[in-house]
Amino acid sequence: MERRQQWLRGVLDLCVLGALTRGESYGYEIGQRLEAGGLGPIAGGTLYPALLRLERLGLVVADWRAGDGGPSRKYYRLSAEGKATLASAGADWAVFVGNVNAIMEVP
């Protein structure tokens, strides 16, 4: 459990970017997507700081939409840099995982 948390801390930003390739979304729903993808429940206290960092770095763009019959929500979507970063970081990640698997002799 501890180890998983550490791994997640390293890739959460990229997973958020990945979750947005399907289309724009708001904070709670992004958390749902990540959980459905098998990462387990992501606490709001972890998710929103990650979203703010990505926004500050220009990898996601956000705006507020009036909800249908509900409160306005802040919607996030990938920027061009975000797409590019996801692609290159994804490639790095694949190489990294491959090496780790080889070293640990994962069958």
């Binding site: 709670y28 729903e29 606490a43 709001g44 929103y48 960092r53 500050r56 409160p71 802040k74």
Partner: protein, 271 residues
């Protein structure tokens, strides 16, 4: 803790850190409504969450600044200085704690440089007392360097006074010079060959050499270009964050909102 209480505490923490709370509170409130779970479970304590968010917003590590506490590093009490028949300083008080920056402003002739020289112990006041806790560094508007020595030799000479070895002193001097946009002080030749602005950078680096606890800076940016002037203030804030007490005499009022306190020596202004 109810949702409303948590949101109110969260908003207060954000406001304390000079961040507009509206958007962040709204987003948190919507999330809590969607998830239906307790805020402490979802976000944790409001103060800690506020700090994490602010760090993400600003891209900085957790604030190192401590609120001024304990004994002040520099304490000047009731300083009076007369030149002939005119009184330049009328009983001035100045208190600077570790991790604090104080800006001293005032018109020409209002005694800013005189006050700083008195605090550095270079001249005597007619009455009053100065107490320093720790080591002291002083940077005048000009001077303080030797015409025929190179920058490295200055670093070694001043560093030896503070007990630094030659290598330490040179490394510290060169690093500090680079932070002021002076990348290769080792190749610059002797001090009299330096341009005015670069020579002042040497002056400033020497003032900070050996990590003194109190820094007294008298408009040390004479001759700096705009970029170096900004680098100078970055260095001031780095010094402050490292726990030093920094006093800057300045007539450039634009930076005042970044100083922790301002002392205005213009006659007639409240002290």
């Amino acid at each position: 803790m109810t949702v409303d209480d948590w949101l109110a505490a969260f908003a207060a923490e954000l406001r304390r850190r000079r961040v507009d709370p509206a958007a962040l509170v709204a987003e948190a409130a919507t999330h809590l409504r969607d998830s239906g779970r307790a805020p402490l479970q979802v976000f944790g304590p409001p103060a800690a969450y506020a700090v994490t968010l602010v760090d993400s917003l600003r891209g900085a590590t957790a604030e190192l600044r401590r609120a001024p506490s304990g004994e002040p590093r520099l304490e000047a009490t009731k300083i009076i200085k007369r030149y002939g028949r005119s009184t330049v300083l009328h009983g001035v008080d100045l208190r600077v704690h570790a991790g604090e920056t104080v800006a001293i402003i005032g018109a020409n002739g209002s005694g800013k440089s005189t006050l700083l020289r008195i605090c550095a112990g270079l001249i005597s006041p007619d009455s009053g007392h100065v107490r320093i806790r720790g080591t002291l560094g002083y940077c005048p508007q000009d001077g303080g360097t030797a015409d025929f020595l190179t920058a490295d030799e200055h670093f070694v000479l001043v560093g030896a006074g503070r007990g630094s070895s030659r290598t330490e002193a040179r490394a510290q001097g060169r690093t500090a010079a680079a932070a002021l946009d002076w990348p290769r002080p080792g190749t610059s030749g002797v001090a009299r060959q330096l341009s005015g602005g670069t020579r002042q950078k040497l002056n400033l680096v020497l003032a900070g050499l050996g990590d003194p606890d109190v820094l007294l800076l008298d408009e040390p940016y004479q001759g700096f270009d705009n970029g170096s002037y900004l680098d100078f203030w970055q260095q001031v804030w780095r010094w402050r964050d490292a726990g030093k007490a920094v006093v800057v005499v300045t007539h450039r009022l634009g930076e005042l909102d970044r100083a922790d306190a301002v002392l205005d020596l213009t006659p007639g202004s409240p002290r």
